[in-house]
Subunit: 309 residues, 6 copies
Amino acid sequence: MKFVKEFNEGEHIEGQFLVSNISRGVNSLGAGYLNVELRDCTASISCKKWEVGPDDEKIFAVGNVINATLDIIKYRDSLQGKIVNAVLVDQEYIDVARFVAAPPIKKEILIENFNKFYLSVKDKDCKTLLDYFINKYKDKLFVYPAASSIHHEYSSGLLMHITSMCKMGEFIAENYPNINRDLLITGIILHDIGKLKELEGPVVFHYSLEGKLLGHISIMASEIKEASNSLGLTGETPLLLEHMILSHHGQLEYGSPVLPLTSEAFALHLIDNVDSRLTILNKALDDTTVGEFTNKIYPLDGRQFYKHK
Amino acid sequence: MKFVKEFNEGEHIEGQFLVSNISRGVNSLGAGYLNVELRDCTASISCKKWEVGPDDEKIFAVGNVINATLDIIKYRDSLQGKIVNAVLVDQEYIDVARFVAAPPIKKEILIENFNKFYLSVKDKDCKTLLDYFINKYKDKLFVYPAASSIHHEYSSGLLMHITSMCKMGEFIAENYPNINRDLLITGIILHDIGKLKELEGPVVFHYSLEGKLLGHISIMASEIKEASNSLGLTGETPLLLEHMILSHHGQLEYGSPVLPLTSEAFALHLIDNVDSRLTILNKALDDTTVGEFTNKIYPLDGRQFYKHK
Amino acid sequence: MKFVKEFNEGEHIEGQFLVSNISRGVNSLGAGYLNVELRDCTASISCKKWEVGPDDEKIFAVGNVINATLDIIKYRDSLQGKIVNAVLVDQEYIDVARFVAAPPIKKEILIENFNKFYLSVKDKDCKTLLDYFINKYKDKLFVYPAASSIHHEYSSGLLMHITSMCKMGEFIAENYPNINRDLLITGIILHDIGKLKELEGPVVFHYSLEGKLLGHISIMASEIKEASNSLGLTGETPLLLEHMILSHHGQLEYGSPVLPLTSEAFALHLIDNVDSRLTILNKALDDTTVGEFTNKIYPLDGRQFYKHK
Amino acid sequence: MKFVKEFNEGEHIEGQFLVSNISRGVNSLGAGYLNVELRDCTASISCKKWEVGPDDEKIFAVGNVINATLDIIKYRDSLQGKIVNAVLVDQEYIDVARFVAAPPIKKEILIENFNKFYLSVKDKDCKTLLDYFINKYKDKLFVYPAASSIHHEYSSGLLMHITSMCKMGEFIAENYPNINRDLLITGIILHDIGKLKELEGPVVFHYSLEGKLLGHISIMASEIKEASNSLGLTGETPLLLEHMILSHHGQLEYGSPVLPLTSEAFALHLIDNVDSRLTILNKALDDTTVGEFTNKIYPLDGRQFYKHK
Amino acid sequence: MKFVKEFNEGEHIEGQFLVSNISRGVNSLGAGYLNVELRDCTASISCKKWEVGPDDEKIFAVGNVINATLDIIKYRDSLQGKIVNAVLVDQEYIDVARFVAAPPIKKEILIENFNKFYLSVKDKDCKTLLDYFINKYKDKLFVYPAASSIHHEYSSGLLMHITSMCKMGEFIAENYPNINRDLLITGIILHDIGKLKELEGPVVFHYSLEGKLLGHISIMASEIKEASNSLGLTGETPLLLEHMILSHHGQLEYGSPVLPLTSEAFALHLIDNVDSRLTILNKALDDTTVGEFTNKIYPLDGRQFYKHK
Amino acid sequence: MKFVKEFNEGEHIEGQFLVSNISRGVNSLGAGYLNVELRDCTASISCKKWEVGPDDEKIFAVGNVINATLDIIKYRDSLQGKIVNAVLVDQEYIDVARFVAAPPIKKEILIENFNKFYLSVKDKDCKTLLDYFINKYKDKLFVYPAASSIHHEYSSGLLMHITSMCKMGEFIAENYPNINRDLLITGIILHDIGKLKELEGPVVFHYSLEGKLLGHISIMASEIKEASNSLGLTGETPLLLEHMILSHHGQLEYGSPVLPLTSEAFALHLIDNVDSRLTILNKALDDTTVGEFTNKIYPLDGRQFYKHK
């Protein structure tokens, strides 16, 4: 099935769409109709549902995924869809690939890279915790984007962020002394797993109640504490990992309740910062012509970067 | 036994002291001696240990509590102690009352007031958590000061801070709608219990490793999470309490990873702020003559307040 | 007479309205007409004045209160008013209750509560100044809202803010030492009276020239100085009250030229802060369903609060 | 009589000194003595008072001006004074010229320049207020320094600051439109007069209680209000002047409760800023060798300026 | 030829316009047309180009200057232009006076004043550099506005800013010691010349690539360095001027990489600040009725100033 | 010859020392002597010069390197040096290795690593500029520390900082797209070369006049501009490099007049940040025992880091 940005005038389309906006209108004869915005991961299209039935309020709610049949027409120079019919799609039948962009690297390769780093950790306590959390969150971990709206915003984005950070973590641990490689790799793998509880998906991501009231940092720190106790871990490792999670935003005003106070916590923060910033910048440069400036990049202070020749 | 600020020239004193400073000297004949500063909760006194024995390094370490015999002399207009002999005191025999000031209200009355608020909480989940934590931390909770160095800095200071806040919590819950009284009182009682793990005592308070790497806010939030799980609590109450703990400093830059987002969390923060500030101010005004300004009060922006007529 | 939010299609309405917006239109025949937005304290309605007469420019000016007759019709799913005729209402005949929401507590009870606190002040200098200012500003004091647009924004809102603060002032003076109760109550009653000169009303509040160039804080401080001189008051009380007024915003960047430097000035600032914040929050929670978040509350940093179950 | 920095070993001196520091000592025989620091506007000298009499505590209090007889000796490479005898000097007999540096321009010339600007103001309301305040504060106005410790810190410093600002005010009013010359000159003359009540002197300046609790800005704004009322001034001039006083620090965080909102208020702030900064800088450069950097200039952000060739 | 704000219904106009906005429309018959906004320095007018030809995309691009023939009609109470025909205007034939407002003082007088200051500089090194730069940039220097969008925003605005600052520089150098007059005047003349490379014109000013990546401050500092080397200047003067350019924004956060550290650099910053702020304010007051407040003045913190009676 | 921290009581030492402090004393017989602090890169020692000769003022000036003969004695438990004789050492004979610590990696290996990166740059314009600057600054570049007092503070510290950054630059360029490897490596090599003119040495580093008035960032940007012009380089490369130098501090308030706006400028800033911070941290951890916290690390916000087990 075609994606929205591939639609042409005169086509008759059937497939899954996300309802992204809705408003009511009244035509010149006084009859009500619905303005419905439908979208997938490529674009959105304005549609009309002319005869409003009793179930339509439930079907056309923002955030729903529906299976719709559309006639594509042209109106004032733009394409518009006439909704012939539409039904709700059950969560389990949603075709996620239609709604979240594919990662630039194939998911299988990302998982392979991820596993290489995961299995390379030999420290016993680190390995115990990694086994526990990867087993617990594997499904979401391999699918979720890295953030609700900023960087690595495609499916498996978190996985890509983690493997990219692991690579840099390996580099840092090899080139700077006083850094425990296994602890750093473990912290990198675990640092954003709290987001899997903070965000709810799988298609339109929004913050869960727990996410809003606690934040992913505190959620994950508590999980490490609880898991360590139940797994019978003693020694400093659980405390050091909990500290790494709590401090990885690097500043109190960015939501870390403590500042990094170990070399691995400091390295984790620096690596997270470099990887997320360069990823955001690269995405913007990819969308820009050589010799031009990017649009304003809001997570980088709204700056416009120059793509040189 | 007399307190340090009651010593007079010529007296012969025997009792417990905290070693608060230490340096080595050499007399005119080339013999070494020790300059030892000893203190209790009233004042400190400079002392000399003239003949240095092999165990003296262990005995006269900063932070130790020792049992010493002193001759009090006058030197350059100040009192000075000559240490006749000294032995280490075991933790269990330390007479805490000599080192931490007594609270302005008798401890028994504080406990009675505290219990009144504690027992008034009827909400089932709140009560379950209160029972659990008060039982777990009762010993320290009734003895610890409210902070390592700022407000309510006498023994049972935390208890006094909690009961004073409970009183204001009761007032607020009665006078402003949309506030659940039991939830607010429970949050007030639990909000600083993390400090009992953050600080280690009992005489010279310093931050524990866990306190430095996690902070009392995260320590207590994790404890509530774990306790709720193990006590089988479901529903919103544990989440709401965890949120109250995490947000009670009111600002990210003061170490709260999330801002208050419920009425009880907001009230807890406001009450904590008012009680601690007025307590600090009152203590400074108590030490000031009418018609004069206080010394600089550092936790209140270094301001000097005027004690009017 | 009905309020705007109670209007129905087909009704014929006559009553007072505030002109809140105005623009000119031209119909398909080239004839001019007026788009007029009319409102009361419940809602606004778009209206058309089809035949524009020579006086209409004066009548339909933003901020005017008019007496209008309307036919209520439905246009594109919304109600619209056709203005049959309209005349200006003299200031003295304005029915204020139509334009400013009623307070949640009856005005008579608010005045009774206020008088109880006012009459309880026994300190002679405090009482002299209270008598002077309450006599001078009684009319406005009992009617004005607490602020032009933020908290306690209904009629008698300032009165409600004052009595609510007095209650907390009483609590604070009873529970914390070094606070002179009469001085604190007097400061609470007087602290915002400068706003009665800063804002001009009575229906649409806007800042007076004096309000913009001096601010309510300096206006009131000067008034206390002048009144004390003319009433022959000596001693510290006038100075202490002037200081309380000047410092009650608590920070230089919030417009206080000096910081609170007495216990009563500090308490006044803290009480003002707690009462106004909890009032803003409660209003937002009242408009929110249980289990949902409020809209962004701009005076509380734009936060959205959760109304728990 | 010589100034302190002119003293030589072996001299016998008699004259007025300010007691600027005091501490007690005990000699090798156990007898007490006093270490007294005495100063005038050129330097300070350490002195000993060997035999301490019963009145000495009252005579040698910090801030006192005494008439003392000294023997000047040399001790460890420095000059030291032996106090032969000393008596307190009554306020009225203090020789101010010994304690505050003379201005770089003769006082008579400063007054002449000042009067030229004062008398040039023709606007009736401005003139009425100038007459009132210059008459009221003439004595102090012609003598006080411009600040307790920063710029124009010699006698008549405020007068010099005012005349220098008037000159620039004249320049600004001539070269930029929309500025009322008489209003600006009046604002310049009055802007710091509140300091004459904020500071108490005449030798060691300290903040008065009124100065600390209200600040010179609010003190002067109230005075203008009161004076205008009692002088029967109506119209905008008193309000505009009050606004100029209140806003002349230019920023809320520098203690102005309102920002400049008229051209004259804005000009006053800019002129005050330029004159005080250039004066501070010039003083520092005067004390510096060509080709060197000044000491840190704290009121100019601690910067060190280069005195070029 | 008339300016846009002088157009009347029914007129037939021919002349140069700047294309300031463009969008496509489709009429009721499905034919495309262009919505074109045209402007000069007085106002803008909405126009329609009904029949879109093959070259129209190139002609009607935002930023182009075109020679157009318009019929002026009235549509919905506003004037509208019907574009009869249009051709591009070559850069060299653009009539700049139509697009940039004339300065309040005649250009010839500005140049005369400028030359008076320029020729008054006698210091040999200063004169050498002035000769070099004025010769190099004369054309643009006498024409450019002072900034892309803020102060002195008419043609020759930079020239007016420079001469106005020179006048104040003369005043400052005469009235404050330790300031080298020739160095200050030279710094004033050169301080913003970097803008002539930072901005590209001549009609719609936008930042050049060099301007965006280096900024006018660094551009000019490098030019002084290079010119001094090639002109064989030794001694401190080039360094002092380079420092004045680099530091004239006065604060790191305003883009100066170093703070002013000489008296002339400090004076340059203060004079630039006063002249640009008073100029902005005066322009806003000129557009305001007596007794009213100006619109928000964004470069002055968004304040609204009062134009008093 | 021994280093200062290896001295023992009774030894007779001869060698080079840096005069790091000086003060005059008078002995009990009234004769003057000098207190001289001498140091090398390991420690400092207090010395006395008892008989002060006419040349001693010139010899014992702070910052001088002298050749001195000392007798080492013990005084009050500390070692002290008696200066038997001393002469000034000419700049060219200074044994730098005594005063600046050796780098942790041998200088030869650092140079080898550096050359590997230098020679790997193939881009023609980059290579031309690298050849020019490395040739011009080779001597100092291979010897200077990385900063006057913070990170990489041993000899060849700048070289070590550059090679360490090059390594990370290589990693970044390989792992993130849109980054020109040669441009990044060139920017890394050149970014701090301005410090070689900003700091003057070779033993006690202090800021040159040019360094203070311009800063190393502007110095180097101008040099690139001038060199590019004289080398006849056109195209974007010189502009991009100049931009990288100007922006590499990453924030206006850290002295960069523009923010990074190209991918290489952004990467340079991030790499500089990571390398300098991890180097500072590692140095502090090297000086700390396992299980303890470091001293306050001022360039890392004064934090104390934990060296875990």
